[in-house]
Amino acid sequence: MNDLIARVLVGLMPVVVFLFALVYLDSYKLISLRRIVVTIVLGGVVAGASYLINIALMSMVSIDQVAYSRYLAPLVEELGKALFLVYMIRANRIGFLVDAAIYGFAIGTGFALVENLYYINTLGDVPFVVWIVRGAGTAIMHGGATAIFGIIAKTLSERSGEARFVSYVPGFAVAWLIHSVFNHFFLSPVLSTLGVLVVLPPLSFVVFSRSEKSLSSWLNMGFDTDTELLELIHSGELATSHVGVYLNSLRGRFEGVILADLLCYLKIRTELALRAKGLLLMIESGFAVKLDEETRSKFEELRFLEKSIGKTGKLALAPLLHVSGKELWQLYMLENQASP
């Protein structure tokens, strides 16, 4: 019984501790505990699906088990974990590198927990070092590889301005390579485990520092831009400004009511963008934030206006609004905070 408890603790705890250390290090803590738990569960589901796919693939391809575990299993498993992050990036659910790292590590954690539980249940009497390698090596490698995929994919999709398929390839190749190299156990399983433990903490530190710098610089620039636009809208001099001239040029293309909604949409989106940045400033300074009813109702109004102006209206406003991933993410983040 004591042996089982020790196996469970060593096999499962290190990756969970590492994940929560990452969450703790994040100054903004924008990913709720609930989301982290859901992501871990999804990781477990991916592990189950990968197991079934691996069994099916092994019966289809003529390759020995060692080679399969070195090349094809990492491909299947990293692809499964990466798909979740691809969805999150494409849906603008990830604002910064640190979020990509945490979501990536969380899905890897779920995967590793289910995988290790499976092995605890099926492997018989094996030396205790196996559980050390599986818990501190394989499990953390699972989290780390997907976190690295997330970091590279997020960086490249930001750089290209849109989340294109090609943005995900280099990150996926690196994640697959890490997983494959780990499974080769070139030196020894214990040394591979030590390698994971030596490389990941400083890498996490670099990512967190870069991410916080990037957030701070985006926050500063965006806050000023939003403030200027809002000041212009409220100044009474909108008609003569470049924004007013542009809106005026749309007269022939939209009905009067829709034009009015375009202006309302521009105003409310900018107000919400500024609110989101204010929220980040408050979190950064250590204030517990509660969003008011007014912000919630603004989101309802935004949805109504989105329907009213349609896709064409949103496209028409694109030159005036920032539609980068971070700008869309901040609205998602704010709406989540505003949810009762």
Binding site: L219, T227, L281
Partner: protein, 94 residues
């Protein structure tokens, strides 16, 4: 500093000025009032300094009052939600 111990801000409170202001505010044990009368502009970096100071003042059960805030700067506080954190007195308030 003003005659009643209030901190007087003037000009532009942007990223270039924030380190100086933070250092100045950190030297005051418990700042109570910051006068915005001559402040023309405040950026997010400036707001960050005020938030950090407010956090420190809150911890010693005090609060920071911002007085003579122009309508434009008041709007910035309002739309960003920071009006919930500070006691704000607009310049044209009766």
């Amino acid at each position: 500093m003003g005659g009643s111990g209030e901190v007087m801000l003037s000009g532009r409170l942007d990223a270039a000025q924030t380190a100086k202001l933070q250092e100045f505010l950190d030297r005051i044990a418990e700042p109570k009032v910051i006068d915005f009368k001559d402040l023309k502009y405040i950026s997010s970096a400036g707001l960050g300094v005020l938030l950090k100071t407010q956090k420190r003042v809150f911890e010693s059960s005090g609060t920071l009052k911002l007085t003579n805030v122009s309508k434009h700067i008041g709007d910035v506080f309002n739309y960003s939600g920071l009006d919930q954190i500070f006691d704000i007195e607009l310049v044209d308030a009766p």
